[in-house]
């Protein structure tokens, strides 16, 4: 009665859960169908409409789309460099050391995930704006942050970093410290131990976290429009360009939406290929 592929077979624990589902199985299947349609239908509708929309192909190569794409790719890449450089040692410390201060910090690492992004934007304006907490000091150095490309990167790092740090901390926590101790008693330096032991073992988690963080940075909207404004070529990333285009040219808005969708799918696919290559199923 229930299609076999929906119930799934194979892994031992899967079979056990299937047996214990009992009368709940039909409800589970119905919920699955509803959910898949709920997520799938809008995406299919987006693609179908984009295919018919006048000005879609022109929009794909238009100046608005190209500038937003270029800016989004560059800023999100820079953001990820910042997130990795700062986030990796931070996550390692969180995973290895125990102290009250660190525990409090650990609790608040995930705050930007639950904080509405627009609140993050207002908060950054209050901190780094011209009249913000650090505004006068920054102004004295000749630095203005709001409404610059740097502000876009600030906003992306703020909202995206926790996704990487959280995954990295879990990844590092999964590396047995005794191996690291053994490595070092054998005369391998802490740096080399990190590069040759800790990093390869934690790699799948880091990669997953980085992909999620990148996807979040690319989709960042609320904090960006509040703190970085909306200027083509300088601060107008793809989500902002979609909103602007929605009010003038649906073709461009659809072109940008399809591009962002493709980028997300590619990121997921690349992640799964890379994880398989490293022989893990994180």
């Amino acid at each position: 009665m229930i299609p076999r592929f929906l119930l799934g077979t194979g892994r031992a624990d899967g079979v056990r859960h299937q047996a214990s589902l009992g009368a709940l199985a039909p409800a589970g299947v119905a919920a699955t169908v509803v959910y898949v349609l709920f997520i799938g239908l809008p995406i299919v509708a987006l693609l179908a409409r984009a295919g018919q929309q006048e000005g879609f192909l022109a929009g794909l190569t238009g100046e608005l789309v190209m500038q937003a794409l270029r800016l989004t790719v560059i800023t999100s890449m820079v953001s990820m460099v910042v997130v990795v450089v700062v986030g990796t040692p931070f996550a390692l410390l969180l995973a290895r050391r125990r102290s009250t201060v660190l525990r409090v910090i650990d609790t608040f690492v995930e705050l930007p995930i639950v904080l509405p992004p627009v609140v993050a934007g207002v908060a950054m304006l209050m901190a780094f704006g011209r009249n913000g907490l650090l505004g006068p000091a920054l102004g004295g150095l000749g630095v203005t942050l709001p409404f610059t490309t740097a502000a876009v990167i600030f906003a992306q790092v703020f909202v995206a970093a926790p996704f990487y740090i959280r995954a990295a901390r879990i990844g590092f926590a999964g590396v047995d410290p005794t191996y690291e101790e053994v490595s070092q008693t054998l005369g391998v330096s802490p740096w080399a131990t990190f590069w040759r032991l800790t990093l390869p073992v934690a790699w799948p988690s880091l990669l997953t976290g980085l992909t999620l963080a990148w996807a979040r940075a690319v989709s960042e909207f609320g904090a960006t429009i509040m703190f970085a404004g909306n200027l083509t070529g300088r601060t107008q990333t793809m989500p902002l360009a979609i909103m602007t285009a929605m009010e003038s040219s649906l073709g461009s808005a659809l072109a940008l939406s399809v591009l962002l969708l493709a980028m997300s799918v590619l990121a997921l696919a690349a992640l799964s290929v890379l994880l398989r290559r490293t022989g893990s199923t994180a």
């Binding site: 609790t107 404004g229 909306n230 200027l231 009010e247």
Partner: protein, 293 residues
């Protein structure tokens, strides 16, 4: 690991729920009579005057409640085109109203009900922009509304008029636009960026300038009349209005003496001409004439 955050979240949720419950109990006791709701989609620049107009309208119409959606007129147009339900649309320019009319979404013939103009505003504590010429000076940061928004379209037209005149250099408009650091989706967002002091100047409506000047948020640099064409605001009922009669009553109130007096208080001028440029006679849908009440 995250029990601290979880506890914090629980405490916050409990607080919010208790406040919300208190609010519900209070409002439940007040709302006894059935309520006729009229939903008004109005340009962001109408936010303050229309709230005052609605208060006066509701005072004279027991059982009627006005709810608003304020945004850039072009954003409201997009929402209406994509199926948003509303009873009344008040736009800051004719373009957005014309698009709604062309899509056969109107229930009556739009009419102008108010006139606005533009002004340059600057933060109180900044001296970067003291005159219109300063707008073109390199290094000045300016916020304006996006070209899609009426306030942004008017601002660009005004800059073009200045550039065409002998009083300003030929490249004045380009120089000013080169100083623009953000294209906001509506005029209130422009005013907010100026009030925060995050930009050196912004181009907003005179009405926004007046409000902000009164509460000390910004200084105003006036734009002479010859460069400052009238921004005329049309209003119309929508064809799918849930309460066509209440919608027409609200429009009539806005156009009447009481509504016009409130709009004048907020700095709007009366319309130069009530009739909109409706060249072709498009059938106007199913709304009953407003004289039946």
């Amino acid at each position: 690991m995250n029990s601290g955050l979880f506890a914090l979240a629980l405490a916050t949720a409990a607080f919010v729920l208790s406040v919300a419950a208190g609010g519900c109990a209070a409002s439940a006791s007040q709302e006894a009579a059935p309520v006729d709701t009229v939903t008004v989609f109005a340009a962001a620049s109408l936010a303050e005057p229309f709230r005052a107009v609605a208060d006066a309208f509701e005072a004279g119409q027991p059982g009627v409640e006005v709810t608003f959606n304020f945004a850039g007129s072009q954003a409201l147009r997009t929402q209406l085109e994509h199926g948003a339900r509303a009873d009344v649309f008040a736009s800051a320019d004719w373009e957005q109203m014309a698009a709604i009319r062309k899509a056969s979404l109107l229930g009556n013939t739009p009419e102008y009900f108010a006139t606005n103009r533009l002004a340059v505003v600057a933060p109180v504590g900044s001296s970067a922009v003291e005159s219109l010429d300063d707008l073109a000076r390199p290094g000045v940061s300016i916020a304006i509304a996006s070209a899609e928004a009426p306030a942004g379209a008017y601002a660009r037209a005004t800059l073009d008029l200045m550039a065409e005149s002998a009083d300003f250099p030929d490249n004045f408009a380009e120089s000013v636009l080169a100083n623009v650091v953000t294209n906001e989706t509506n005029v209130l967002a422009v005013a907010q960026k100026v009030a925060l002091g995050e930009v050196d100047a912004g181009i907003v409506y005179e009405t926004d300038a007046k409000t902000g000047q009164l509460d000390g948020s910004f200084r105003v640099v006036e734009i002479p009349l010859q460069f400052n064409p009238a921004a005329e605001y049309p209003i119309a009922a929508l064809g799918e209005a849930a309460n066509p009669q209440v919608a027409l009553d609200f429009i009539e109130f806005v156009q009447g003496d009481d509504g016009q007096a409130i709009l004048r208080d907020y700095g709007f001028a009366p319309p130069a001409n009530v009739a909109c440029p409706c060249h072709d006679a498009v059938p106007t849908g199913s709304v009953a004439p407003s004289t039946t009440r």
